[in-house]
Symmetry: C2
Subunit: 329 residues, 2 copies
């Protein structure tokens, strides 16, 4: 059932088996499996899953390679709702461990916001990451190309830029290191600092030795039309022709709501076991938020594993299904 400001109060005393934070590929797959295990699930989604930006999935088994990410999310959400899972569009503010259950506090609506708390036995952190993008004065100019031929994922899109002239948009000297794996796909590489950081003489020599260009002038705007980026115009008026771009500026991790709970991280990623359990026995982390490959198919698999382990946990304690449990028609 889709929850909203009006029907929220019905849920006040309810304790969910699992609340899934994030309605992207990982969260939807977890939700589908959880509901099929007859576990009562709520997915809380703030919108803007990373895969929503992907114009073509390219490498997801079972879908034509030109399937947009939003199609996968739409199909998955329909699938989940058809299994009677609960869904709420909201932002998770924080999670408190109350011993037997968690209290998940959410903010609903950007304006005239309503706050509400849910109880749940298990928590699945599937809220992912979002890529930092070049910060230009007119951000619409960036959004026009991001996810088209301004890529953020080398594994996904290296194949799309074979032997093309590709600009790497970095955020630090270290972030330029992506040129090395990118050079498997193309040798025609231009590195752009957007005037945001210094590049050491050693790195400059190394880049030059490999035949890569370095552009340190700030960027004025991306050039192109119909979502196809053709290069950048620099602040000094000169232009750099490109056939594609790769943004290598790191990510923002959507895990602030977990700050009140002591969990093990590696960098910004949550550390989990084989079944995606974090260092807290009733918190699972799946998809881009955990240590591992940031791929849609991996996130979907993570969701299946986490849901299965949660079912095993609950079954071990309860033995058989609770009476009065909602059953599919």
């Amino acid at each position: 059932m889709k929850l909203n400001k009006r029907n929220l109060q019905e849920q006040n005393d309810h304790i969910y088996d699992a609340v899934v934070v994030g309605g992207g590929a990982g969260g939807l797959s977890a939700g589908i499996y959880l509901q099929r295990y007859l576990l009562n699930t709520l997915i809380i989604d703030k919108g803007k899953a990373r895969s929503l930006w992907m114009q073509e999935l390219h490498n997801y088994l079972g879908l034509p390679p030109d399937t947009p990410g939003r199609e996968l999310l739409k199909q998955g959400k329909e699938h989940y709702l058809s299994l009677n899972g609960d869904w709420l569009n909201a932002f998770v503010e924080d999670v408190t461990d109350a011993g037997d259950y968690f209290i998940v506090r959410v903010k609903i609506g950007r304006s005239n916001s309503v706050y509400h708390s849910f109880k749940t036995r298990y928590l699945v952190a599937a809220s992912g990451v979002i890529d930092h993008l070049p910060q230009l004065e007119n951000m619409q100019n960036v959004f026009d190309y991001a996810g088209y031929n301004l890529h953020v994922c080398l594994i996904c899109d290296g194949y799309e830029v074979v032997d093309q002239r590709v600009g790497i948009f970095g955020a630090s000297e270290a972030s330029l290191g992506v040129a090395e794996p990118l050079s498997w796909f193309t040798r025609d590489i231009v590195l752009l600092t957007n005037g945001q950081f210094e590049v050491s003489p050693e790195r400059k020599k190394s880049l030059a030795d490999q035949g890569f260009e370095l552009v340190e002038t700030p960027i004025k705007q991306f050039l192109g039309e119909n979502h196809q980026m053709t290069g950048v115009e620099l602040e000094n008026g000169s232009k750099v022709q490109l056939q594609a771009g790769l943004v290598s500026m790191g990510s923002r991790y959507h895990s602030d709501y977990l700050n009140g709970i002591d969990l093990d991280y590696k960098g910004g990623n949550l550390i989990t076991d084989d079944m995606l359990r974090t260092s807290h026995p009733r918190i699972f982390a799946i998809g881009d938020l955990k240590v591992g490959m940031n791929q849609v198919i991996v996130a979907a698999s993570d969701g299946a594993k986490a849901a299965t382990q949660i079912w095993r946990d609950i079954r071990r304690v309860e033995g058989s299904r609770r009476a009065g449990k909602a059953i599919a028609a």
Copy 2:
């Protein structure tokens, strides 16, 4: 390119980057990723992937829940071939480790068979398992229902049999233990031994205490029509009404071709690391053949991980892409 008896000889001196044994969900996903890493791949498929039997996938994110397994396989094969991967319908007889590469010997064609050997640097074992089924005089009678409402996977299909009267078809006393997780979905359970094994008095008491029925008479045939099994007729002429069945008779592991290589197993499953590498550095095992959950979405994720690790390995050694490498149009 699809290989066959006629165009085989062109490949004689070629060393593939990776040969994938098995064209099921895991193998296809590996092949798609490998080709997108510009690695030269051959998938060898003997047909009859386990997912081919599945009439409805139910829990694969991105596909409607009534999608047949064969549709996923068809789409995946088209996807792989569109990336210029090689494909051969054949049976892998054995694999020999020649140091820098493996020699993969195959048998092509069931009659007038031709034998051929391929060379490859990496091997991906994606040949899976196949479920043992009740052995009746008329096996067509079993195949008529297997994959419809005669299920083989509790995780996949527990949801489909909620509160139904379900027959468990076992192969040993231990195999009857599946009644415990099945009882999460339904309490109306009949266990059938088909007269093939003894059940201890302790087990009988335990089953009776839980309200489960035990039928030890041999089975004559499944009853039903239009692929919907409605029960079984026993050799003594009596009938057992059922609404669904769950076969719990173990699996045959398709890994005989690896017998000449020393690898670590747990039961019939290959032990791998996080990136699906076996105890041999250039052999990966994915999907049902490795230790882990037997799910289509997991196998597909495994393929992505194994392919990525193989690419990382090869890139580390070679630095940049080989000249003359086939590039997508």
